[in-house]
């Protein structure tokens, strides 16, 4: 049997006042397994620790129970004592007789009795403790960033600047995300492109970053520190190295397609550059609309390209990469505006979305920054902004707040007033949420100086009368019905996870919340980590947020990745699940129970195996196992049963 030493702490008077430590020491002296027992004023002090070290040596102890304060305080202190004495740190048990005994009881009889039970359960557990060693695995010092918006760009630059390799995968032909579509940004009204394009260029020129556009992650295998990633890069019909951006190809292309970058407010050709500052700086060919891929049908751009950059025979490529960590920054989309038919989007060209209005405001947009309404190019003299379009409406649409609409709508109204001085903006709102730094000041200045009319209420219906849009709503402050004749209506649409992120989370096997946004490991304390080790979250993939928050979170995620990549090996608590192969019937109940995908049926042996790096040790699988084959190291069923028996005995 194990030679156990029990060390009871007085903690000055903290324990001694309600637990008779002398009596407890005498009573437990003869308890089976106890080789040595002592009590001392302060076990955590240097002399206290030395007492334990000496006892381990003199009495050849191979297990230690310290009856003292909560393990939260000094478990690691005493683990170090064991290690320094040549014992495995998992041969330590802490009996919490302070926080959960002496401090919550007044009566010394009761306290001593309960302390005895607590120490005995610790001894019983310790008797069956194994010596364990942290699970370790090597780390591939390279990161994958999925998504090339501002969050992905920031995270990639942070990691690359620290000297590690980064692979960035972007679905679209250029990085930049939604931010590159924006005109000015709140609350400083600085131009979005002015602050973003330098970062995009820095990324494209960074020696540690490899960028794959037109690409998607198709599979991720492995575990934290060691992922194998397969990336599908769609055929590059234009060789970026040869393309010299002369623009001759677009002139001859006969195909017109609505321009995604301009939110459909302009046209582009089937061969095009997404926007002049696109990164990588190259033209791209839209395979779905190009005629040249059909033999003989077209081929004009290839004929015209003197650089010889166009190749219609290009093929999709599968690229394999090994990485240690993955940052997911897949961004957002607007809530489908078709879901709100009463607002007339699609039916009336002068009802537009907030992103479309961004393009109208933008100096690089389809109107060169002049404000014209889409239907007839007239300058809108009255304009209505509808906040919470599709958000904060649990009965019909999205239940949650999109967080940024209050601010960008006000920005829209301000920029409109700066350009159309005699114009009148109206904003329908439910509440104004301006919690960011200098946001409230931004709102107050607009309300007092800019002549923007705020109407508290929701818009019920939008329809056309003559060349005016009639916006019908309710002013809930006065209780009156409101009807505004407007030239243009801008809907501040709700925010949803980006299209395709749904498939990606399945590929990555990471979790989302009930809204489809990525789930963080802990809502307050681990906001940039996924529950699945090795995956980190940034930006609006996790929920609606503004640029400063996205950038901060991206840097936060990058710092977590850097901590991981800076180590040669990752270590993991060994208090994890195991499988008794002789008992396992391969029923796979545990496989479905594991939230981490750490359990897998070996198809040959028909026995379930635990991936020790993925297992977090919750123990849900163990309680689900019908045959007792699943066990938790150092918290086995036997250990728990023996502890229960002590408590049931009442002695």
């Amino acid at each position: 049997m194990k030679r156990i030493g029990v060390f009871i702490c007085h903690c000055g008077i903290n324990i001694k006042d309600t637990v008779d430590v002398e009596r407890l020491t005498q009573e437990l002296e003869t308890y089976p397994g106890v080789t040595y027992i002592e009590n001392y004023m302060f076990m955590c002090s240097d002399p206290g620790q030395n007492n334990i070290k000496n006892a381990i040596r003199e009495h050849k102890l191979d297990g230690v129970v310290v009856a003292a304060c909560s393990p939260t305080l000094h478990e690691s202190t005493f683990q170090t004592v064991l290690k320094e004495s040549g014992l495995n740190e998992f041969q330590l048990e802490i009996a919490n007789i302070r926080e959960q005994c002496s401090w919550v009881h007044n009566d010394i009889e009761q306290g001593t009795h309960k302390a005895r039970l607590i120490v005995k359960t610790a001894i019983e557990k310790l008797k069956l403790n194994e010596s364990l060693y942290p699970v370790s695995a090597p780390v591939t010092k390279k990161a994958l960033v999925v998504g090339g918006g501002i969050s992905g760009i920031q995270a990639a630059l942070d990691i690359a600047d620290a000297g590690f390799q980064v692979i960035m995968v972007e679905k679209k032909p250029s990085i930049g995300g939604h931010m590159i579509q924006l005109s000015e940004t709140f609350p400083t009204l600085d131009c979005s492109q002015c602050i973003l394009t330098p970062k995009m260029v820095a990324l494209s020129k960074h020696k540690n970053i490899k960028l794959y556009v037109n690409s998607e992650v198709v599979s991720v295998d492995g575990y934290i520190g060691n992922f194998n990633v397969k990336i599908k890069q769609r055929a590059l019909y234009v060789d970026p190295d040869k393309c010299n951006l002369c623009d001759d190809c677009t002139e001859v292309c006969p195909v017109l397609v609505p321009n995604e970058q301009e939110e459909g407010l302009a046209w582009r050709k089937a061969i095009y550059i997404p926007f002049p500052q696109a990164i990588p700086a190259t033209y791209t060919l839209d395979v779905d609309h190009c005629l040249g891929l059909e033999p003989i049908a077209c081929g004009k751009c290839r004929e015209k390209c003197t650089a010889g950059a166009i190749n219609y025979d290009a093929k999709d490529k599968i690229i394999e990469e090994e990485v240690g960590a993955v940052i997911v920054a897949t961004g957002f989309d607007l809530y489908p505006v078709e879901n709100i038919p009463e607002y007339g989007y699609g039916k009336y060209p002068d009802v537009i979305t907030s992103l479309q209005f961004e393009r109208i405001l933008s100096a690089t947009g389809p109107t060169g920054g002049e404000i014209y309404r889409p239907s007839d190019g007239k300058v809108p003299k009255e304009i209505v902004f509808v906040q919470c379009s599709g958000s904060r409406d649990p009965e019909h649409h999205l239940s949650y707040c999109s967080k940024i609409c209050c601010m960008y709508t006000l920005k829209h109204a301000k920029l409109y007033k700066h350009k159309i001085h005699n114009g009148q903006p109206y904003i329908f709102y439910i509440d104004i949420r301006a919690g960011g730094k200098r946001y409230e000041e931004f709102v107050q200045q607009a309300v007092s100086e800019e002549g923007i009319v705020y109407i508290r209420g929701k818009v019920a219906k939008i329809y056309k009368e003559g060349d005016k849009m009639i916006v019908m709503g309710m002013d809930t402050l006065s209780g009156k019905k409101i009807e505004i004749k407007a030239d243009l209506v801008v809907l501040a649409m709700g925010i949803v996870p980006s299209e395709g992120s749904h498939d990606l989370v399945k590929t990555l096997k990471i979790n989302t919340d009930d809204k489809g946004f990525l789930s963080e490991a802990h809502p307050k304390l681990r906001p940039v980590e996924s529950l699945q080790a090795g995956f980190y979250l940034a930006g609006t993939s996790q929920g609606p947020r503004d640029i400063p928050d996205s950038v901060s979170q991206a840097s936060g995620a990058a710092s977590k990745v850097l901590a991981l990549l800076s180590s040669d090996k990752i270590y993991h608590s060994p208090i994890i699940a195991s499988v008794d192969k002789d008992l396992c019937s391969g029923c796979t109940i545990c496989v479905g129970t594991c939230p981490y995908g750490a359990r897998e049926l070996d198809e040959v042996t028909k026995v379930v195996e635990v991936n020790e790096i993925l297992c977090e040790g919750c123990g849900a699988c163990i309680s689900a196992c019908p045959s007792g084959a699943a066990q938790q190291k150092n918290l086995t069923d036997n250990q728990i049963d023996n502890m229960i028996k002590i408590i049931a005995s009442g002695k």
Binding site: P71, T72, R98, I640, I644, I647, A648, G650
Partner: protein, 138 residues
Amino acid sequence: MKDFEPKIVCFLCKWCTYSGADLAGTSRMKYPPNGVVIKTLCSSRVDPQHVMLAFSEGCDGVFIGGCHPGDCHYQSGNYKTKRRVILLKKVLEQLGLNTNRLRLEWISASEGKKFAETMKEFTEEIKKLGPIPKIGCK
């Protein structure tokens, strides 16, 4: 005659309820000494067999404490615990045991007061129910 002092096993998850119990201690809140704690990493580690063993060995009550819904450190462990407790109560019923002898509560690390009050309440309740009758499932 000496008052009946119930024997109670408390399974507490490390992240929420165990920390809540610690907070009750550091706040010097008083509660009856009948519950003795077995710490698990997650409430979902509590095997229904442990609960049955506790009752068959003569414990008068079993308490399980976990994180609030949505706060589980292991994502969904507490939901699994909830389902298991619902089923366990049905088993207790069939054995003729009062289902109140088994209690599941969500107590966070900041709810030291709730832990102390729950311990008081639960101990009182078990006192009223009296000692556990013998059940033959050893």
